[in-house]
Amino acid sequence: MRDRIIFILQLLFTLLVAAFLAVPAALSIAAGVTVNYFRGIQSGITLQWVAQVWELYAGTIMASILIALGTLAVTLVVGIPAAYALYVRGGRLARLVEEIITLPLAIPGLAIALALLLTYGGFGSFRRSWLFILAGHVIFTMPFMVRSVMAVFATIDVKSLDEGAASLGAAPWRRFIDVIVPNAAPGILAGSLMVVTLSLGEFNLTWMLHTPLTKTLPVGLADSYASMRLEVASAYTLIFFVMIIPLLVAMQWIGERGNLR
């Protein structure tokens, strides 16, 4: 009897905490499909706000997706070989490089943005292009890719696999493609999802770096919160949710599968 009461109290507490987090999200989503939020849901349900957001901000949504994919491409092409080199080489220098790559985790996005502006602000065409934001996102997300790939290297004895393939005659790039990458796939996948998710949601750094012509979804979101009616801003949030939640679920799923192996 006493156990049952404790269980019920624990359940209530858990639900309360969950509700504390979920209710605002639910309300926000509801607001995005309500005709008039101040009159409540009885005013009717509509997709007009979603349509309006699409009309106004489709550009930022596409921009975010492209930047996320671009960031992913760069972190894959640079991050995996970097992780491989750092892991195989080892030693003090490798540790130092790893620390430097990881530094953006500890530095506020605003500070990174400021540093980028100070350094490259003078290069007008770079400053005004999407590449500027892409560069910021790569700096911010690279540690996540490198770290998760290195973590998987630590579990598969990369050095032996590499030497094994070499003994059979495979040149370095061939070993990398045939043996290293396939066996690091779980780490690469986990890193990729993290990079895409972080890039899609990144605000601090992007807000500092953007120009009126290079807005991403989160920046557009802030813009709409400040200047649009509440229903439009909420509909915008709804679109963001629809994009990001499948990625989060996939990340969770892959993480669990990784643990089972």
Partner: protein, 353 residues
Amino acid sequence: MSTMTRHGAALKVENCGKTFADGTCALARATLDIAQSETLVLLGPSGCGKTTLLRIVAGLENPDAGGRVLFDGKDLTRQPIEKRNVGMVFQSYALFPNMTVADNIGYGLKIRGVKRAERAARVAELVVLTNLGGLEDRRIDQLSGGQRQRVALARAVAIRPSVLLLDEPLTALDAALRERLRGELNSLLRTLGITAIYVTHDQAEAMELGDRIVVMRKGAIAQIGTPREIYFTPADRFVAEFVGAANIIEAPIDGTHLVLPGGRQPIADSGPRNQAVAMVRPETIGIVEAPASGLTGVVDSVRFAGDRQRIIVRGAASIPLTVDAPNTIKVHAGERIGLSIEPNSIRLLPAEG
């Protein structure tokens, strides 16, 4: 032996040493000749430099300046492992988890651009040779330790290497399996007739597999010889004790006899010295009735081991002597016995260390 076809290269390791960046010397400069189709075993305790030497031959480590590695007279010192056409079996096997058994075995052939059909035929041949039938499509994590070992071997042999390099290939297995696979490996090496270098710390493996054994200690070669030479005429005390069991007796020499606490023991050849370090193998000591003259001692303990019994005898020499006696002899602790040792089976070792 004479009908056997010979394969692989003749190897020459010339003046190869290895000093690591932090200054530790892993291998003192060593020179070795390995004949075509010979199996050479590098034997020694961990940290003796045997794996370093193997890795220098493989091309996974560079020797210190001045060292050279020659395959059939061709200098390959500057070539990385992928250009040396070696077959290597790693202690951890280093099998590719992302490939099936067949793909693992065929990987080296694929790299060499061998056509699919030809590759499949060669893989099938090796599957039969290494007794892996029915496992071709398995993933590596679905194999037992012994099966993995055989895949690693098949994969290394598939490319018809100039030399087969084996780095403690049986160490990861349990004792019974190790013994069985040792036999299989031996007959496989004889069948293939390929030049092979085999690294191990297990003297039983070294004895069974090696045409010649290189005993190593602290980064240097202690002795090179056939298993019989190594066993019967060890160069020094370290080799004597590392290979098989040995009684090492320090005693004064009186002309042609060792002067021991338990009596005088004749020896074959003492040379001009009056103090000796002598090695006597436990199985060369016979147990007899306590004689009026000659060597005697007192049985300290008897351990019955089935095929033989190990008897510890006190009082005969300055140290307790270990004797391997036939399992039919009946002695008991405390009994006074005589010891008969053939003078020829006593080996005098250099005095130092």
